[in-house]
Symmetry: C2
Subunit: 703 residues, 2 copies
């Protein structure tokens, strides 16, 4: 039901009925008809309005029931209170899809929400797919299908292109369309999803993934309700070799609050979206400008480049340095120009800057082939994945223009796979001419570096498809309790591949003494109870016990402490485990995101997590390679790598443990509510990791 | 000599001679004459060229020597090798200033550097101020003075405005001028300083600070050689109530390297520039776009606003949330709209978002006074310092335009002191019309928030003038050594107001035992030697000595360790001090920046400084208020404030110690090379700070 196929009739209809059709130019019910006629839509158009016989020169029907043929798409342009009746009039089986412009549903109040549900129940019963309500509709530019009342297309013909745009917000969608027109960007389809009573952003991404005329999908997201569907859409797009750029609002608390008050959609934790986008190779942008800069760049350069080095060339050394600042802040590499090329440049301009950024100096104005020759010299080395050139004011010179054009032509011809950007203040026709040649143009050098940098970094961030988890055995979990005690928790983790220290349980002071004797080394003793979450707070832990006598005292102390502070707690004994010396204390955990399921958290213990919030997140499941990237994302990972003269820690074992944790969390996602491992001690390289304490919480049994 | 007065003749000349004057349109020696004539320069123009009698209709002179009257400005537009002779021909006392366009001096090689010095020596001898060489000259727009060969002004008349631009780079300067023309920004003066053989950016800032027609100074900086002059210029601008925006390249290592290879100027440490800009209320921008956005905004709204809350209004809830994200990331506050105003909005739009961002919804399209009424309701509360409004696609609607214009007019009339920005895609004439009304316009909502946010934050960052240090007594410092031992170092700090623990010195084991007995508490013992910088590495420290017997052993251990590991070190005894329990270990230090003098560093000990580089810097001297901001700039300051259930630390005492340190460093800036206090222990609130170890290094005596 939810495959793109069921949406094809709606989004590429052969026939369109407009309920609430109007003769009055500019009215909601008039605009779609005007646009369809103006741009030569090839299918049938059926205006529906009981008060007219013809509308905009077309025969008009009193009701959907009067239309004799099957209808692929019904546009409903009547007030909310009439929408249900309008759709109910459709003859069963004769309508494939409907777009509801009307607002006044779930976005305003509870009564609206109920009316919206009544409408979608009707649609579902009749097998009608719904876009909206409370949306601006859609445009399929290539097929001249305008199912929108946005007036943007009234004044300007939207150029056909390879970018598909999906927006939850109509207001944003309309603005986006204006901006794209203004930039001369071409579109394949433009869709606004509004209240998403049926079709959501994920459906549209899947639809565009299957559209041969779309190469780049740009989505504007406020929230998501079905995480699995969104993931499937991302995978479909990746498999079809399409690139996705997303702007999602709510990346700060203030933004998330504003988004939550605006939309009924559950926004979910923004850090989880970051993890999602990272793992599925989605380019996330943070402003509308960046959204279109990156989208436009991808529409030209959607294939990953082989190298990730950035080549920067400038006729101003200072602006070259400014671009180097931007490149380094993005984490891009700026390999030096090859020695031979350096020498050739120095022969022509003895005071040129020959590293990278390359400064060809103002000399380029009187010797215009300097740019092109040096660029060829640089790129032919095979070290660079992209080139950004700052032309300064020479870019606006009439006499210099032919050289710029030739330069762009030769770059495109010689290096069709290497993104190439010119920074100059160009008159509009020249900018368009360069863009036709596949050259990106900017007026701001920093924006050029950041946009091209996004293309280069994209290459590094496409994750492998998440590992298959079919082989992961489900652990046997109790069904009668929701909190496992420490021993049970560690046992579940152990089974999943996360090591812990050997543990013994004493039920009496004598047993404790015997265990101490038997182990013959320093041990830790802890109260074992599923009802006590903060053991040390109530004196439930004794460290560094080295003799049977001390073990007896410790046992007595612990049990009497627990007796006085938590008399009602169920006690499973006192746990005794060897002290683990050295290592670095980390924290790992799992929580269940309401939209995207189990999410794994990692961080270093102490101030890193508590004060600096230096944590990283990934959706479960993931493999060890992803776990390594997860570890390296924290600033504290320098400590694991061996900063301050320490021996490097066993990062491989840590990655393996995190991957195992993610696979356990995913396999048991219906049972496990959360996992906390604190501390997870990472020993020196080759010596592994040890979970020293853990807490597994299960879902309440659903009887 | 260096006051703005001596520059006035050069930058506002009554007479101009052009050496190397040319008839050929577009030549370097022709452009200034063409521009001066085209735009109606009122002074005298004297072309100089031995091969012509008239040039561009003006009488031509064979040499500067032939001009009978005094000349305020000589433009030298001949190749480098002829520049000296050209200037030497001027009759002594008859030339006030010269602009040297010619390149081929210090920027290319050592010979060029020598020739440049010969030229500036000549100019200095004759009392001629020099701009350049290797520069694009300058324009004084108000007086139609065009001493430049930049062709930008040839095609377009530059509008007169209140912004003065100074650029070290000619290429950047020309590009900046094009961008400003393109944006319709008005200019008072535009100056490029090139090699700065005499006049530098600081001189130009001081000049513009004294110019009644300049309100905003925009400077593009690659490096600075005279820090004191730059500080004086900043103070002059502040006193004249002018705002300064600076883009300085080299904020990363890659950028600094590129800048260093490009310019002969000593760039200095970028963190020091950040401190400088912070302390002197300079707005630092990081990209060229941001530079002009902020400069343009300041040219309209240069006076600080009383409140710092940002009001955000949108007809798209989602884009409102996006703007809230940007605001929070900048650290701006978004106070909620007053309750009464919320109720009034809800009466008109029951599903509006009424907090902040305020979402007036698409309803605003059919009820256009919604924006204006709600904005008045919000701003009249007096809680807000600025307003940003996103109009979405309505901004490009013809029918909506009159409402937008009226909205802007009423805002400007009612709240002339509250910056006001509209985000919309506007046709150029409408954009200009709004700008004339004092309304800022943007197409990108994030850019709008960041630009307006820069204005709001600016209010908070203007430091008080650095404290007078006249009262700080200079400490008595030895002149025969360059490294003070720990006791001497701590004594110098003590005298300056930075507390340390009481210290005794033992010269024998018996003395050590006696001191231990006398103190009767746990002590630390450390070798005292100006030759041993890392005491613990060679076993020169013993902690927690509690008895006279232990003190004897410790003394013997320490001396024998030192004997074997550092036999040549001069030993001043063994230091004995009480152990200090608790507190938070910090690090404070002073180093001498080659350009800006003594700089104070602060950070928390351990990983914060070593792994996270979580440090802050300020130029000395500064007061306790500035020290508080310096402390709060570090992420680790949360620990001092009492994170993780700790008692808050004595931040006031710490601030006092840092301020004292800065005043010591400034007062003794000619003698003290560096200071390290590690650790500086901050005790609980009310209990002060204690320097537990310190090292003061003095300058080598200059005999």
């Amino acid at each position: 039901m939810n495959s793109p196929d069921t949406l094809k009739k709606l989004f590429a209809p052969q026939s369109i009925a407009i309920v609430g059709a109007s003769e009055t130019i500019g009215k909601i019910g008039a605009i779609p008809i005007t646009l369809l006629k103006k741009y030569g839509y090839q299918g049938d158009i059926y205006p529906v309005n009981p008060r007219s016989h013809t509308i905009q020169g077309l025969d008009c029907y009193a009701s959907l029931a009067d239309i004799p043929t099957p209808i692929d798409l019904v546009i409903i342009a009547v007030p909310a209170q009439h929408a249900y009746t309008a759709l109910a009039n459709a003859r069963p089986g004769m309508v494939a899809g409907a777009v509801l412009f009307s607002s006044g549903f779930a976005e305003i109040d509870e009564a609206g929400r109920i009316e919206q549900e009544r409408l979608s129940a009707l649609a579902q019963e009749r097998g009608i797919r719904l876009l909206g309500p409370n949306c601006l509709g859609f445009m399929n530019i290539r097929e001249n299908t305008f199912a929108t009342f946005s007036p943007v297309a009234m004044n300007h013909q939207i150029p056909v292109g390879n970018i598909g745009v999906v927006s939850q917000s109509g207001a944003f969608g309309a603005y986006a369309c204006s901006l794209m027109l203004n930039r001369g960007m071409g579109l394949s389809s433009w869709i606004t999803t509004g209240n998403e009573s049926d079709i959501d952003v994920a459906d549209c991404i899947a639809l565009l993934a299957a559209d041969p005329h779309t190469d780049v999908i740009m989505a504007y997201l406020e929230g998501c309700q079905d995480g699995e569907k969104l993931k499937r859409a991302f995978i479909a797009a990746d498999q079809a070799n399409k690139r996705i750029v997303i702007t999602k609002v709510g990346r700060t608390q203030a933004g998330a609050q504003a988004a939550a008050s605006h939309t009924a959609a559950l926004a979910g934790d923004d850090a989880v979206y970051d993890a999602l986008f990272h793992q599925y190779g989605i380019l996330r942008t943070h402003s509308i400008d960046e959204f279109f800069n990156v989208g436009q760049a991808l529409s030209v350069w959607r294939h990953p480049t082989r190298n990730t080095g950035l080549a920067v060339m400038s006729l101003s050394g200072g602006v070259g340095a400014l671009m180097a600042d931007d490149a380094q802040e993005m984490g891009l590499s700026l390999p030096a120009m090859p020695k031979q090329a350096q020498n050739r440049l120095l022969q022509r301009v003895p005071f040129a800057g020959t590293q990278n950024p390359v400064d060809v100096t103002g000399q380029a104005v009187s010797d215009p082939t300097l740019f092109s020759d040096t660029a060829h010299d640089m790129l032919s080395s095979g070290q660079f994945g992209a080139l950004v050139v700052f032309l300064a004011a020479a870019g606006s010179s009439d006499s210099f223009w032919p050289h710029i054009e030739r330069f762009a032509e030769s770059m495109r011809a010689s290096y069709p796979d290497i993104p190439f950007a010119l920074v100059a203040l160009l008159p509009e026709p020249r900018r368009r001419a360069l863009e036709k040649l596949g050259c990106l143009t900017f007026t701001d050098p920093s924006t050029a570096v950041r946009t091209v940098g996004a293309l280069l970094k994209r290459n590094q961030s496409i994750s492998s498809t998440p590992p298959s988890i079919s082989s992961t055995a489900l652990p046997l979990l109790p069904t009668d309790i929701t909190t496992l005690n420490e021993v049970e928790s560690l046992a579940v983790l152990n089974e999943a591949g996360i090591p812990s220290a050997p543990i013994l349980i004493a039920h009496s002071a004598t047993q404790a003494a015997a265990i101490s004797q038997q182990l013959n080394r320093a041990v830790v003793m802890k109260i074992l109870s599923r009802d006590i979450l903060h053991k040390s707070d109530i004196g439930g832990i004794r460290l560094n016990i080295t003799s049977p006598e001390d073990a007896i005292t410790a046992f007595q102390d612990i049990t009497s402490n627990v007796q006085s502070h938590a008399p009602a707690a169920r006690i499973d004994g006192v746990l005794i485990a060897p002290m683990i010396a050295g290592g670095i204390e980390c924290i790992a955990g799992v929580h269940r995101d309401p939209v995207f399921g189990p999410v794994v958290m990692f961080g270093l213990g102490g101030i890193f997590v508590e004060i600096l919030q230096d944590t990283s997140f990934r959706l479960a499941p993931f493999d060890e390679t992803e776990a390594i990237s997860m570890i390296q994302e924290t600033r504290a990972s320098q400590i694991l790598a061996g900063a301050r003269g320490r021996a490097p820690a066993d990062i491989e074992a840590l990655a393996k443990a995190l991957a195992c944790l993610s696979q356990l969390a995913y396999a048991s996602r219906d049972q496990i509510e959360s996992i906390d491992i604190n501390p997870l001690v990472v020993l020196e390289q080759g010596q592994g990791v040890v979970a020293l304490d853990a807490l597994v919480m299960l879902s309440s049994p659903t009887v």
